[in-house]
Symmetry: C2
Subunit: 342 residues, 2 copies
DNA sequence: CCACGCTGGTTTATCGATACACCGGAGCCC
DNA sequence: GGGCTCCGGTGTATCGATAAACCAGCGTGG
């Protein structure tokens, strides 16, 4: 049995409350008793039980990032950014997995779990607005990275349409005429659909036709899916001279597929990704990609969350905070998978 | 204020205990009362407070993986594997960050936090045995991925020496004579040192000299460090025709550096990594790398942890479990960054 | 001389859920 | 008919820490 605070109290000959005070420093304690308590703590190898503190205090100083999957580099990088910011205020970040796009989605990570944290950053990739609508909870929640979710929630989104438009427009401007949209989808309302919209819009603006045969959906395994997309284009003889991959991970797979097919990048086929992962700069050739403003998104997300956690210092209760939608600034990062602008 | 269980009880006209029983299904409850309770739950939007349950039950059904950093793909993949296994037994995985190799190391993630979980999988990359020795806790802990830690703990390790030896031996067997060890170190006892040992051993076995000038340390940013290592070799005119990079991430940086320097892979320089990340197969050319037996490691880690969590069904108390050290099987995965064996 | 404030502590109630003991009645076996 | 289990419940103590109220002793100023 681990030692409890009252064990320490008994050993030190003081009350539990005094032990608590020594440990938290919340009240002054005489130097003598202080030392006795600390000695007892050391002696018994006592460790604070945070669970009990949480129950009593109703606060955990911990934020959770709920990502669709653990093994997706994008969320790893996001978590790192968030964690760094939270450390400044003495808080912690933990990451949980929702197992996106499966039946159980949020169910798997039962609603009750969210109560274990002061706030929730919920990535809603692969969830429908309906899924989110069902999410009735009193825990502060900020949604990340999607579009058109119920406006009951704060949301931090990428500018998906504009990012996709930028990427595609650049491909068209540098000479590509048949740009595949890898990871795209012609229906639904999720990220895949919205970026497909941007792809289409770029074509319109350039006065060029967008061929739906070039929209290739992706599945669960981005890397393999990217490669498979290229294989399929080649196999079916669909001509293409550019690829807009909807994530950098897909793009990595696409590059592998192109190499396999003996197609040169960027000479035969240009490629643009989306996310600007750390690794993308180091691919060979370096991946041209859309940078979704990582830092701004992290800043916004935490600002919105803090607004909900802190019961608004000025306003009284009942003053519901008006949900906000923020969109990060996108920009195109030019590297070796595209040709220089003419 | 969120509704509590006793609110529900009052609304349904039953005792709290009955509500609890309905919700957990731990005892039989009449169909009528059951329905009344569920109606009340729905009505009040009641959500179970897991914190309270944890305090009472002394169990959280949650395991934590403590990784040095969130944005390291290796741990993302590991987390995914662990999570999948834990789901089978109805448990959860959460990931926390230790911020390895900083002052605070585990301090940052205060010992008390570990008590929030039923068990801890602690990656000790970048920690010294002393750091770990200081780790006095009653929570079940299994150490991951290192060597020569205090044998008070269970440990699941990669066969670092053998993996490094394999990698280097293959480079030597396929014609490389000057093999750089990127991420290596000629002192200490951590992973970097041990893999350097394997690198050295392969040279000995082949009767070839191992030049310490080819051992290049890495810092915090593996990708950039890998590239920088190549830049440095080129800048300083150190001749080399092979690279053993101590992680696949470093290898990715190395490949970028080689491309930048106009060196062809594998014709001018062969490259081998370590980790067999998902992405490594999709680099161009595909990265030859050491596979550390991911699945076996995950299996072992959880087996050892469960052994500690479950107070050994057979033996009585006081029967201390003998700490175990398991080493995963390593194997070499051959891809395009090395030449075919002669 | 007494009210007053400070210091260093103790006592008590509480956070929300759950283990456990227990209850009256019904059914059943030997 | 005594002893047993099963049924659908209820009351109470408890998990460990902490906020808030309270208290004894002492110095001080008016």
């Amino acid at each position: 049995m681990p030692a409890t605070m009252s064990d320490v109290a008994r050993a030190a000959g003081v009350s539990v409350m005094t032990v608590s005070n020594v440990l938290t420093g919340r009240k002054r304690v005489g130097e003598n008793t202080r030392r006795r308590v600390l000695a007892a703590v050391d002696d018994l190898g006592y460790e604070l039980n945070l669970t009990a503190r949480h129950l009593r205090a109703g606060r955990t100083d911990t934020i959770v990032l709920v990502a669709p999957r653990f093994d997706h580099p994008y969320f790893g990088e996001l978590a790192a950014r968030l964690s760094k910011r939270l450390e400044r205020t003495g808080r912690h970040l933990v990451v949980e997995q929702s197992g996106a796009s499966r039946e159980g989605e949020l169910e798997a990570l039962s609603l009750a779990r969210l109560h274990l944290y002061d706030g929730v950053l919920l990535s809603v990739v692969g969830m429908t607005p309906d899924d989110v609508e069902r999410l009735r909870t009193t825990v502060p929640v900020v949604l990340l990275g999607e579009q058109d979710m119920p406006d009951r929630f704060d949301q931090v989104r990428m500018d998906n349409v504009e990012g996709a438009r930028l990427a595609t427009a650049h491909l068209l401007a540098t000479g590509s005429r048949r740009v595949a949209a890898v990871g795209g989808s012609t229906s639904g309302r999720g990220m895949t659909f919205v970026r497909t919209l941007g792809w289409r819009r770029a074509h319109e603006e350039a006065g060029l036709p967008a061929d739906d045969a070039l929209v290739l959906p992706a599945g669960q395994s981005d890397l393999a899916d990217g490669r498979e997309a290229v294989r399929r284009l080649v196999r079916e003889g669909t001509s293409f001279d550019g690829v807009f991959a909807f994530t950098d991970t897909l793009a990595t797979g696409v590059l592998a597929g192109l190499a396999e097919a003996g197609l040169r990048v960027p000479d035969d086929v240009q490629v643009v990704g989306f996310d600007n992962l750390d690794a993308s700069e180091f691919l060979v050739p370096g991946l041209t990609t859309v940078d979704p403003g990582h830092d701004e998104m992290a800043d916004h997300a935490l600002r919105l969350l803090d607004r909900l956690i802190d019961p608004s210092p000025g306003a009284g209760a009942g003053t519901a905070v008006e949900p906000e939608r923020v969109t990060g600034p996108v920009s195109l990062v030019l590297r070796g998978t595209t040709r220089p602008a003419p």
